[in-house]
Amino acid sequence: MNGFTLGSVYALIATGYSLVFSMVGMINLAFGAVLTIGALLALQIAVEYGMGIGLGLLVAVLVCGLLGWLTDESAVEPLRRQRLPIYFALLSTFGLNMVLQNIAENVSLCAWQAEFKPFPAPFDISEITIGSIRFSNLDLAVIGTVAAIMVGLHFYMTKTWGGRAVTMTASDSEVAEVMGVNTRRVIAFIFFASCALAALAGTMMGIYYGSVSSSLGSSPGMKGFIASLIGGRGQIAGAVLGALILGLMESLAAGLIGSGYRDLVAFLALIAMFLVKPAGILGGAQTR
């Protein structure tokens, strides 16, 4: 069951990447650092200042959302405005990632004087056993939250006007503009939302592992974007599928070849996917 929990967190991260990818056609490489900052903030507020996990989460989500907006404003929008090739954004977001990662490292250095800090769970962990499967209520909470978000997102995308505007902008921004959608605002909003998801994912990881450090985001961030690319352009379904497949492949590899090769498998899977079908499993034809 624990694999499922982790997998669902990865699915959340992958969704964050997918949202941005479907919107502007490129990977936001600053995502990992934002995730870390979200977790650090949540920890700081919930634990160090003792204000409880609810407030911590809220602040983390808001701040990270703002960071997402900042990413768009500084690293992506200028490129679109000047009609530069969008893959330049890989470089600019990478630069931004360096900045944010450095800030995260220095903050954890100054504020905590420690490499990592314990992140106590907000409620008592109790065990539940069904048949031969053992899991804790924390697992349920995480999976439940992720599932709720996914469902909510799906509902938003398909049923509300705002969500449909998002979907329209994703598939063809020019048509959307013509139809009266303010694509600029939609993109900014999506960046905000995806980074808010990052904050949530980071906080959940912090609670789940019981600790937060400045290198929290790098590995999951990478796995997340690989998962989203493998799964394909569909925002939610693709992310979940990709996370599942990646998780499965990693466990298989760990069992068969040896655990050191886990990361390697992820990258090889990405290359293989690209060679076979670049748009991912659920993606349509390669348009951009």
Partner: protein, 397 residues
Amino acid sequence: MLKKIIPLVVLVAWVLVITVSSTRDSEAASVAKAAVAEMHIPVIAPLSGPLASSAGREGKEGANLAVKLINDKGGVQGKKLVLDWFDDRGEASEAAVLAQKVADDKNYGVVVAHFSSDACFAAMPTYEKAGMAMVTPWASHAELTKRSSISFRMSASTAIYGRLNGDVIAGTLKAKKAAIILANAEYHKDHTKYLKERLAAKGVQVVREETYMIGDSDFRPQLTNIVNARPDVIAIVGYPKETALIINQARDMKYNGPLTIAPAAATPEVINLSAKNMTDTYMGAGGGTYNEVLWGKSTADKTVAEFIQAFRSEYKKEPPASAGWLSQAYDVIRVIAAVMQKVGNDRKGILEGLKSIKNFEAVNGRLFGDDRAQIPDLGISKFDTTTKQWVTIETIK
């Protein structure tokens, strides 16, 4: 024609500016150092990057503490001791470049560097050419002092601790089957090599060996494989963060057997994160010196007592329970200052001086052994979950 010469002039000017500014920079600094009554020691450590908050910060605290004590007592040869810090981010390529920078400066007679063994290896040739002694407070690769004649290390070789870990498993715990989980990194592989050597010698079978990457947070796949192999003991070879997570996850998986950890993980952070899970957890390390004594249980050792007292008065807090990196940096500065007191800031003199040291009393045992490393006072400790402290259960002569 003139217009074509302009870019040329600009280029030449730019080349000159860059080169001149880089020479002028070190020259000015050199002149400044020689003028004032100061002795400078360069220290190269990870001040930024992933290792900064542990090794970098602790190293700084320890080294600065030693400097303060020394200056309070009149400095070195009457001059104030000053540390010049350089950041190598724990990386070999940065280390190599910085090594050259330090070696170029004639005012430096010795260098305190680096954290990781591969940074040391990359930088050593440069120090050798410059005839400069390199004293590393933290790196512990077994071959460090074998590959070069100018290297000294503060920590005992991983060979000693690896074999001690084996003794704990075979002797104290009387295990027949052991499993090892280690990171795919140099310290861990080194330690495991000697651990397995000792286990083989004592007839303990290694039923499973699993690796992870530093920075991993999820060890369940590896632990599942290990638990399924049904070992008597699990040896966790890791840095603090991973060790703490592995301990927690192993207990979560209902593995309740004994665990051993490597000395690198004997830090307060591990205790903070996993104390309640550290039942039946052992460590072969320098017990009897800083572990127990730092808790104030015994002030028999004068050097340690002095260290504790200085730490308390300077930083206004208790020294952490396992101040490995901190105290090693402290020891380095003290031993170098002692040598510099006799010979001044001369490279050859310091190198010879360090080589001739036997039995210098350090917080972490005695310096230097035959291979220019620390001679630790060894012991075996068990973690007490009620007091949340390591307790020495056996001292080894």
